[in-house]
């Protein structure tokens, strides 16, 4: 019992026949080999599997692939564009990761967060990423990384 779907992932169109019970995260990782999206808790808690669906962060372990039919998905693999994205650069410069497991989800969520709130306070960032768990950094470095990216993105948009 399979269901035909067509979706756009990082700007590229993909078609597949999938079982309705296939979760989006498994479609990305196993069918499309996009293993940058991680599976952490499998209980909708940790946010490691966060991707953007039509621009909004969702936990891809809690969405069926069939629900993404006709929609646009962005994963960590689609973030860099001719060089590191300011968020990737921020996580590098500010040491926003140690083990790196939560990082793809953090960056995807932060990308949507900054699009909505380009000049956030530290506290707004902490609430913004409260659905993403990190067990290494204690979050301070992640907040700094996102602030770094926010500033760079603001500068870029002024120059553009």
């Amino acid at each position: 019992m399979s269901y035909p779907i067509t979706l756009t992932v990082n700007g590229e169109e993909h078609s597949a026949e999938v079982e309705p019970r296939l979760l989006l995260v498994h479609l990305l990782r196993e069918n499309l080999n996009l293993t940058g999206t991680h599976i952490g808790c499998d209980t909708t808690s940790c946010g490691a599997c966060t991707v953007l669906m039509d621009g909004k962060p969702v936990k891809s372990c809690t969405v069926f692939a069939v629900q993404a039919n006709g929609r646009s998905i962005e994963t960590i693999e689609g973030v860099a564009n001719g060089g590191l994205h300011p968020l990737q650069e921020g996580f590098w410069e500010k040491h926003g990761l140690q083990c790196g497991y939560c990082t793809p989800g953090m960056i995807m969520n932060a990308k949507a967060f900054l699009a909505k709130n380009p000049s956030p306070t530290d506290e707004e960032i902490r609430w913004g990423i409260s659905g993403n768990l990190c067990r290494c950094t204690g979050y301070n470095k992640i907040v700094e990384a996102i602030q770094y990216a926010a500033e760079k993105l603001r500068t870029q948009s002024k120059e553009a």
């Binding site: 019970r21 499998d42 808690s45 069939v66 969520n109």
Partner: protein
């Protein structure tokens, strides 16, 4: 964890969704935001044979005032409530509730209708809608009907909708002048269910409380109001003494279970304390004082 197999149906109109539900009855489940249903399916706590996905239906996502109510479409996402200026300004209890449900990522998908239809006493909207005296509009093969919120929650995960009815809209009566509301939730961390939470909505005439409705989250087998706490306030001035009496009554009316989040005694005392806090804030808001 992989959910069990199911057949996936995508209706294009609400009528079509109702006919699908009417045909398949108890074997089918409605897929709204999926943020409770999909985890339950992964744990195989829920194994529906058929999922009817209503995410592609138009006209079920809105927040607007009409006919003396705030009307909320069943598929309105919590994030849309978070972003609504109308809700922030006039429905503070609802605004406070929506922003503590699950976490910001989950709130992009989770829906107000789903939160209520799931009838989980640990969910946050039930207590709030009880406090508002909301109405639930459902639609079935025979047309629409309205269920008062006091008759909506039957038991754990059980509401009073028929198997072939779909929740369509939630109506919150627009509070009269000199009203205030407040939601106080104590949770271990963002994304967890409440250890306990209290929703208060009240109206004042001068110093006298003319109406008060108080709902409780996650401290009983189904979402409940605390009649004792309400009675301790209505027709009286909201003095510290009366507020304390309401807190004690709420702690007696609730029926919590001991779990990872705490013992029965702890939860009862928590209900007492947060009921008092929520009443004080709601009172100050009704007087037009501090807003947060």
């Amino acid at each position: 964890m992989i959910p069990g197999k199911f057949e996936y149906l995508v209706p294009t109109t609400l009528d079509e969704a109702v006919s699908m539900l009417d045909k398949h009855g108890d074997d089918a489940k409605i897929l709204a935001g999926g943020q409770s249903l999909i985890p339950a399916m992964r744990f195989r706590l829920a194994m529906p044979e058929i999922l009817i996905d209503i995410n592609r239906l138009d006209g079920l996502s809105y927040v607007k005032e009409e006919n003396g109510n705030l009307a909320i479409g069943a598929m309105t996402r919590e994030a849309d409530i978070d972003d609504s200026e109308l809700v922030k300004q006039k429905y503070q209890l609802l605004a406070e509730t929506a922003k503590v449900i699950a976490d910001p990522i989950v709130r992009n998908l989770s829906t107000v209708g789903g939160n209520l239809a799931h009838a989980d006493p640990a969910n946050d909207h039930p207590a709030t809608m009880l406090a508002y005296g909301a109405e639930i509009v459902v639609t079935g093969p025979g047309g629409e009907r309205t269920i008062p919120i006091d008759e909506f929650f039957v038991d754990l995960f059980e509401n009073s909708m028929a198997d072939n009815e779909i929740l369509k809209e939630i109506r919150i009566p627009t509070p009269p002048a000199n009203s205030g509301g407040c939601y106080v939730k104590i949770e271990r961390k963002v994304g967890d269910y409440a250890i306990a939470a209290v929703a208060v909505q009240l109206t004042l005439d001068g110093d006298t409380c003319t109406s008060a409705r108080i709902g409780l989250t996650n401290v009983s087998p189904k979402p409940i109001r605390t009649a004792g706490a309400e009675a301790a306030l209505v027709g009286k001035p909201l003095t510290e003494e009366n507020i304390k009496a309401a807190g004690v009554a709420a702690s007696q009316d609730c029926d919590p279970s001991a779990d990872l989040r705490g013992s029965v005694d702890y939860k009862r005392d928590l209900v007492r304390v947060i009921t008092m806090r929520a009443i004080r804030t709601a009172r100050d808001r009704a007087k037009g004082g501090t807003s947060s």
